[in-house]
Symmetry: C2
Subunit: 303 residues, 2 copies
Amino acid sequence: MIETILSSPTQVVKIGPQHPFVIIGERINPTGRKKLAAEMAAWDFERVRADALAQVEAGAHVLDVNAGIPLVDEPAVLAEAVRIVQSVVQVPLSIDSSVVAALQAGLAAYQGKPLVNSVTGEQDRLEKVLPLVAQYKAAVIGITNDETGISEDPAVRFGIAKKIVERAESYGIPREDVLIDPLAMPVGAVRTAGTTLFTIVRRVREELGVNTVCGASNISFGLPNRTMLNATFLSMAISAGMTCAITNPLEESLLMTVLAADVFMGLDENCMAWLKAQRRAARRASGESVDESQRRRTRRERR
Amino acid sequence: MIETILSSPTQVVKIGPQHPFVIIGERINPTGRKKLAAEMAAWDFERVRADALAQVEAGAHVLDVNAGIPLVDEPAVLAEAVRIVQSVVQVPLSIDSSVVAALQAGLAAYQGKPLVNSVTGEQDRLEKVLPLVAQYKAAVIGITNDETGISEDPAVRFGIAKKIVERAESYGIPREDVLIDPLAMPVGAVRTAGTTLFTIVRRVREELGVNTVCGASNISFGLPNRTMLNATFLSMAISAGMTCAITNPLEESLLMTVLAADVFMGLDENCMAWLKAQRRAARRASGESVDESQRRRTRRERR
């Protein structure tokens, strides 16, 4: 059975078809978050701390940490973010950068066995990222594009997955430490985005025997009701064999979808996790209505 | 490619992996609906008419019609219900009974090519139901249980599916006119209910080349937040290859899930059906809030 193991000094997370689906929290990423970017650039990590705590509280099993901010010393900021996140939460981390020096700094700062996000099938990236992954005995996400771009042909993307797994092995990285990202393209633009991804997930699992992961929200880009689309897509990908995703655990419907999918994959014994999540949601809902009535009362008293 | 064709005098519905998912509306069924049962027994079909119209308006492609009421002349009531439903809506029907004489009466009353719901793998049922299906050139749902009950082993249920398809062919019913129901068991009681169903759906499609269908709500029996469970289950089954389901089209989240799944199966060209459904939902939501503010104003004026 496929099994990828990540760890922090106090926690082990196992990814594989025999384990409940793993959610990698995507929030600690300054891309498109102006405030967060400005704060991190100014060495202010309060929001990073808060986002880390909130995501783990919501149910994230791993946190992605990215410090891709224009004109900053990304290696230094990423390393500091990694140290800070590890000081407030116990889950393993995914160290996320397209800059090799930043990956190296993040890896050096990290305690435990992290995930490296990511390498592509490009020759140059393989040669620079894989030795680092091997040196730090980390796991790595392999994205199925290369010098020729992103193919719409699932066979071409599968071929890149195969190449990444083989190259990783040649650097001494066991194949269970490679997670393939089949790439979720926007289905509004590419009609076959869903079926292509499901096909690659199945083939990677059956023929390469490795885990798959993806960023689950790109698929709905440009379409209305993205929450519903993302949740449906995620459950379909899980049914095809996907074992983890980089997504937002603060979106309750996504989290519930993942827990429901665990139930149907036979991975939630006696539906315990499902039942617990429903009780939590009910408590939260009733707590909110208490707050609400409190607020209304206060407003009335002020008049 | 697998393709099951149902028809009414004015509409053709095609079921298969190359077509958008088909929803068979389940509401016209007196089981567990006391009022409806009493009315149908008293030859009052007003609610049947209203349920037919509401389900088609909501998006059902086919309607199931059942008249299983204790102590009534089921053949007569089912035949009348079929006639009445065909007089108010144009979609094809699924004629639903465990009583052979009622199936016969419903088939005799029906105009077009209906679905017969259902036959099992029991010798006695096969011998009685299949000749009727052949005589009326109908399609039929084959349920994967037999004299020994419902097996938890997917291989046993697949074997029953194979037997039903072969027996149907021996009666001159082409295999594309058999839809296999792999049976959704309550996942709260049977941990493997989901994985077993997905496995059977895949094998039936790949090895027998026939369509699959199921009642999609039994799976969540006894668990909280059934709507979310049913929607997740349905999208996972669609990903595995299921092509239609008997369900409640009036539950908006289920309907939206099916439309989202069509998008990811590449069956909704330019996402037109998805976009249309979102606009409809938005109009409905804004219409409701107008009603709501109207009601509030009226209440205030009364004081």
